[in-house]
């Protein structure tokens, strides 16, 4: 069975880049545009891993991660955060919110897939 990835990013460009990369690597991809939509989509999509941006309208990545971790059903899902630069402070906040790992943007497809494989069985 294909692994399912939920991508949450407000940038259409990044969403599309993720989609192309993930589909090429044989993942099934579900998209959301921000944290609020991400939490909505999460219900009933059962992803194997979540890739989320930090800066988003309505609900940012930190809030989204906390939302996922609060949910009994989904709190064990690995979550990878997309950060623009290797900003230690942002990484730290994401980690405190419950992020599993991170990917630096602009991402290299191979590294993205590596990171996903690292956190999924």
């Amino acid at each position: 069975m294909k692994k399912k990835v939920l991508t949450v990013d407000d940038s259409r460009t990044i969403r599309n880049m993720l989609l192309v990369t993930l589909n090429n690597a044989g993942f099934e991809t579900i998209q959301a545009e921000d944290g609020v939509e991400g939490l909505e989509v999460l219900e009933g999509c059962e992803p194997d891993v979540i890739v989320t941006d930090i800066n988003m309208p309505r609900l940012d990545g930190f809030g989204f991660i906390e939302g996922v971790r609060r949910n009994e059903k989904y709190r064990a899902i690995p979550i990878l955060v997309l950060t623009t630069e290797s900003d230690a402070e942002k990484k730290n906040r994401a980690r405190q919110a419950g992020a599993t790992g991170w990917i630096v943007k602009p991402f290299d497809p191979a590294k993205l897939i590596d990171a996903i494989e690292r956190v999924t069985a």
């Binding site: 407000d10 192309v20 971790r69 899902i77 992020a99 590294k111 956190v119």
Partner: protein, 740 residues
């Protein structure tokens, strides 16, 4: 549109800007001192910088910034563009072109070349505006920013970057042995990490022996299912460096005790350990493994039980997964069907269709005309059929236009990111509120508003909203608000950008305009006129030059690009309360509903959207005001009368209003005017044909069209005519009597 396509457009623009830059510099070299030439040169570099910023082409941004700073000195007459100066500038233009090429095709510009020029440019600018920190940044080789690597079969271009802690894979044959001690805390698991997966990753590095430390495992009744009791001791032989070994645990480093050391050095105390064969195949094959179980099964039955308890939550999650499976399937089905409902179509094909429909509309109008001329009683079946054809044509046209209609949402979304980033950069707290994101407008319009809108947003963040301290001192919320809204209004799209900042500082704007010779010192300007000075080329009120909103190049560029779209932009500002920019744009650039009118023997088309009502003035309603002004009283309010024939120089004297028809129009500048025309011929949808390619911009005239009888009619630019009536006369060289 994918990243490559957007980027491709950026590079195409760069080519154009570079050509502009070079020809401008050459003109200056020939002794041309036209300020517009300097402006054009400056804008070319500024645009390249802006685009490069969006794609993170830092070297390009940094060099363009230095270049731009020096050009700004020329523009503000602080630096005389003599031969020596231009020599440096032309060289810089070459380097800029090389940097663009490198950003696109890969490769790098010699660091010494860039660095030398940066120094020369800075020397020319007298170190006036440039922070020293820019220099080393600019001097970096371009290779790191060059994204063009061979594409894979998806057309995806990998962008080189460093993945924290990952090193290049070295071709070192030498093998090292490391002793790794790894003891996760419970947080590691709560964040979705999995010790077994990390160990699997590590095992890919080479020969690995592993032992599980279960000393801390309590009795079953004392066990916390979510606590972490195990630690591992690993011995691994690999060509990788210690850094790389540590990098495996990168995601977990805060949530575990980790020790990595070369094997020789580890002769310390040995923990009592049970050696465990680490079967990794099970991890790779099973879709939902229970890793701790896999690792410990053979070691101890107790442990198995314990681990089973520890992973209970996972099982319950799996159960929940099964329960939700039905919902998932529904979702997937819905997603699949919605995906099937959209197709990607090459824009050229849609454009061709639109052009053809435009021709069809003209053709249908011509056919109607000749049928009417040849069919006296007007009830023949041909006439009936034609009416149906007319309706169908109209529907086809609407449908074709709808193909190109897109919500403004993507553009608005991009703006919110820009607000966040720029606000961060300047240390302000700003909230962006958007409204009407789903308002649809033609794709060409959307593509073209993104850039001016970006300029305006950056300006609003940089200049509009005050610093939190200033805001607090003024009794305002330290967090500023920028509101971006879109709505349809009478066949146009209205985009409003509202900030609750300090508003336009009219004193300063006026002084600056006087300093820049934009107005004479004794000019008597209304508040509105002062506010609109910010759209003048070369105008800037920022005390310090910033990297963000540039140097005032923004607003005149904004105004031009909006006008090029057939739009208008205006500003209204209240001191201390903020400013509102209002842009009004046509929904489409292809067709227009117009009223065909006669003025001094000429046929003109007035856009229907501008007309509020039409009326035949009575003599008693006309009042003279001053020497030439006349007002018409409509329902007890007075409205200035504008003779279109007079304004466009179709005739020398004003016509008698009583003989004509008044079109009450509303212009974007605000306020109503009554446009006097001789007669109304009818109402018609017309296909817009631009005049600019052949006649450049003709003041007072927006475009032309072909009427049903094959005649060419000019489309009136209502706002320009209204503006002209306010005393901002159309340029004197415009004489349409000759053109018509």
């Amino acid at each position: 549109m994918d990243m490559n396509e957007i980027k491709e457009i950026f590079f195409q623009e760069c080519e154009e800007q570079l050509a502009e830059l070079e020809s401008g510099l050459l003109k200056l070299n020939d002794g041309d001192r036209d300020p517009e030439t300097v402006n054009a040169v400056f804008r070319a570099v500024h645009s390249i910088k802006g685009g490069a910023g969006a794609f993170g082409l830092e070297e390009l941004v940094a060099f363009a910034h230095v270049f731009e700073t020096t050009l700004d000195c020329v523009r503000s007459n602080k630096l005389e563009p003599n031969q020596d100066v231009l020599k440096v500038m032309l060289k810089s233009a070459d380097v800029l072109a090389d940097l663009v090429t490198c950003s696109r095709d890969g490769g790098s510009v010699e660091e010494s070349r860039t660095r030398g020029l940066v120094k020369e440019l800075e020397a020319l600018a007298n170190g006036e505006a440039l922070p020293a920190a820019e220099a080393p940044k600019a001097a970096k080789p371009v290779a790191a920013a060059a994204p063009a690597k061979p594409t894979d079969d998806s057309g995806f271009q990998p962008i080189p970057f460093t993945f924290d802690g990952f090193g290049e894979e070295e071709k070192v044959v030498e093998q090292f042995t490391y002793e790794v001690t790894f003891k996760p805390t419970r947080e590691l698991y709560s964040k979705g990490n999995e010790a077994a997966l990390l160990l699997r990753d590590l095992s890919r590095f080479g020969e690995m022996g592993i032992a599980c430390d279960m000393d801390q495992l309590p009795a079953l009744e004392n066990m916390d299912p979510e606590a972490s009791y195990f630690g591992w001791k690993i011995s691994i032989t690999t060509p990788k460096s210690e850094e790389e070994v540590r990098a495996v645990f990168e995601f977990a480093e805060w949530d575990c005790e980790l020790e990595v050391k070369p094997a020789e050095a580890s002769e310390g105390e040995e923990l009592p350990m049970i050696p465990v064969p680490f079967d990794l195949s099970s991890l790779d094959d099973e879709p939902a493994p229970q890793p701790e179980t896999a690792a410990t099964e053979e070691a101890s039955a107790n442990v198995v039980k314990a681990v089973n308890a520890a992973v209970e939550k996972k099982e319950s999650a799996a159960a929940a997964a099964a329960a939700a499976a039905a919902a998932t399937q529904n979702n997937a089905a819905a997603a699949a069907s919605s995906a099937g409902q959209t197709i990607r179509v090459d824009l050229d094909r849609v454009d061709r269709l639109i052009n053809l429909v435009g021709e069809l509309v003209i053709n249908q109008a011509m056919l109607s005309q000749s049928v009417i001329e040849n069919d006296n009683n007007g009830v023949s079946s041909i006439n009936m059929g034609l009416e149906e054809l007319q309706q169908l044509t109209r529907e086809i046209q609407d449908s074709v236009m709808a193909i190109r209609a897109q919500p403004v949402k993507p553009v608005f979304q991009r703006m919110s990111r820009i607000v966040r980033e720029v606000a961060d950069m300047v240390g302000k707290q700003i909230r962006l509120v958007t409204e009407g994101e789903n308002t649809e407008v033609d794709k060409t319009v959307i593509d073209k508003i993104a850039e001016p809108l970006t300029h305006m947003i950056r300006n609003a963040v940089d200049h509009g909203i005050e610093s939190p301290e200033k805001r607090e001192a003024a009794g305002k919320d330290p967090e500023g608000t920028i509101k971006l809204s879109a709505k349809h209004r009478s066949g146009r799209i209205l985009i409003e950008l509202q900030d609750d900042g300090g508003g336009i500082n009219r004193e300063r704007v006026k002084q600056k305009a006087i300093d820049n010779d934009l107005i004479s010192p004794d000019a008597n300007l209304s508040d509105e006129e002062i506010d609109n000075l910010i759209f003048a080329p070369g105008f800037s009120t920022a005390d310090k030059i910033s990297d963000i909103s540039g140097r005032g190049v923004g607003m005149d560029v904004v105004k031009r690009s909006i006008q090029a779209l057939g739009g208008r932009i205006s500003i209204s500002s209240r001191p201390g309360l903020g400013s509102t920019f209002t842009m009004s744009l046509p929904l489409t650039l292809a067709v227009l509903d117009g009223m065909v009118v006669t003025v001094a023997g000429q046929t003109l088309v007035v856009p229907l959207t501008a007309i509020v009502e039409t009326l035949q003035p009575e003599a008693s309603a006309i009042h003279s005001f001053g020497a030439n002004q006349r007002l018409i009283s409509i329902r007890n309010s007075f409205c200035p009368l504008v003779d279109v024939g007079r304004i466009l120089n179709f005739r020398a004297n004003q016509a008698n209003p009583v003989d004509g028809v008044a079109l009450l129009v509303e212009s974007e500048g605000g306020g109503q005017r009554a446009l006097m025309v001789d007669a109304i011929q009818g109402q018609r949808q017309v296909v817009i044909k631009s005049l600019e390619a052949n006649y450049t911009h003709v003041p007072g005239i927006a475009a032309a069209t072909i009427l049903g009888d094959g005649r060419v009619a000019l489309i009136l630019d209502v706002d320009a005519v209204v503006g002209a009536s306010r005393g901002q006369s159309l340029k004197p060289e415009m004489s349409l009597a000759a053109a018509g």
